[in-house]
Subunit: 218 residues, 2 copies
């Protein structure tokens, strides 16, 4: 059986857990409190020198890092990744887009708002991050006006990867009202068999999200 | 025959051109002067709404974006991507690492030093970018102490992706002296059949690289 080391309120970790559950694939989950620094311990760095979750480990000890590489490996030969070469290429394209043009703005804005102190200097970068994040959300909305999914003709790993942080984009200060096709897609994703939402972060994180919302309303 | 739209002094574009040439695959190359804003024209945005090069287009007009997705599509079934599922997963892992943890620091530092004005505000971000970029280079060096390549047992697309900007990292202000395994790997990459280095950027860009070097020596 495989083991996944992860933090449940991280979108990159949730992606992997959701796919495993939607595949009905048994696995062992080990909670790693990455915001508390657990990914910087010598034991964890021996597992992943990049000091990040998630980490996937096979029973023989072999390790795979990078959430989207895990999605590809787990989905190969299943309905979550197309067989057709061109459809696969498009799914891979969205997976790379997610890591380069979506996560660094949509996910990082949520991290800064929820997991840093209210006077943290990184909060000054939020307007820039959010402006770029809206470009990514707009591109997704444009795609979804003519295609129901990001993984070829049906739901699959590019949808799992892109929805993980889009579903909680509001926690990063994003208003999804201007993106109706995106909101319809999120509803379709949430209606897929065995779907479950990412668990809520700890109470102090949720409190910071609320605080930040009030501030921007002032 | 496929067409690739690209800027030759961009590592992300060079990756695709190098693989095509190493595969001996005929293609049409269309130069796009992205630093001059050519990727923001309505015609280009119709091709790629994300306004980025490279763009790959099939003869029937179908388009693929994201350089690493192109590498995967082109390499499928060739010696540049392993057949074994776990070796493929590791190659994909490095491709995602390259886009998330290498390009945003190693490539972007080179862009800022070469393509922005000497008084551009983004230059203040260079020390932070370079600190993170060194983490990526150190991780690569660590991997290369026990493995000759990033694409399983032999040279392939993860090596092409990671070497594109590593080979010109010094233009981003990086000193590669502390990474002997990395430098040996770059030499092995450069010795592969049909390898060719990325063309030099325009003279004014090269002049900015030189200026920045002098400044940091002061």
């Amino acid at each position: 059986m495989i083991t996944v080391y992860g933090y449940r309120a991280s979108g990159n970790c949730h992606k992997v857990r959701l796919l495993l559950d939607q595949l009905g694939r048994p696995h062992r989950w080990v909670d790693v409190d990455s915001p508390a620094g657990a990914t910087r311990s010598p034991a964890f760095l021996a597992l992943n020198p990049n000091g990040k979750v998630p980490v996937l480990q096979r029973e023989d000890g072999a390790v795979l890092v990078e959430s989207n590489a895990m999605l590809v490996w787990l989905a190969e030969g299943t309905a979550f990744l197309p067989d057709d070469a061109w459809a696969r290429a498009q799914a891979f394209s969205w997976l790379f887009f997610e890591q380069y043009s979506h996560d660094p703005d949509v996910a990082v804005a949520r991290f800064i708002r929820g997991w840093t102190a209210l006077d943290d200097a990184r909060r000054s970068t939020l307007p820039g991050l959010q402006a770029r994040g809206h470009v990514a959300l707009q591109l997704m909305d444009g795609h979804l006006r003519t295609s129901p999914w990001f993984t070829g003709a049906r739901y699959g790993i590019a949808d799992i990867a892109l929805s993980a942080y889009t579903a909680v984009a509001e926690e990063g200060g994003y208003d999804l009202t201007p993106y109706p096709a995106l909101r319809d897609w999120l509803a379709r994703v949430e209606a897929t068999p065995a779907y479950h939402a990412m668990p809520a972060p700890p109470a102090e994180v949720v409190a910071r999200f609320a605080h930040a919302c009030r501030s921007s309303d002032d």
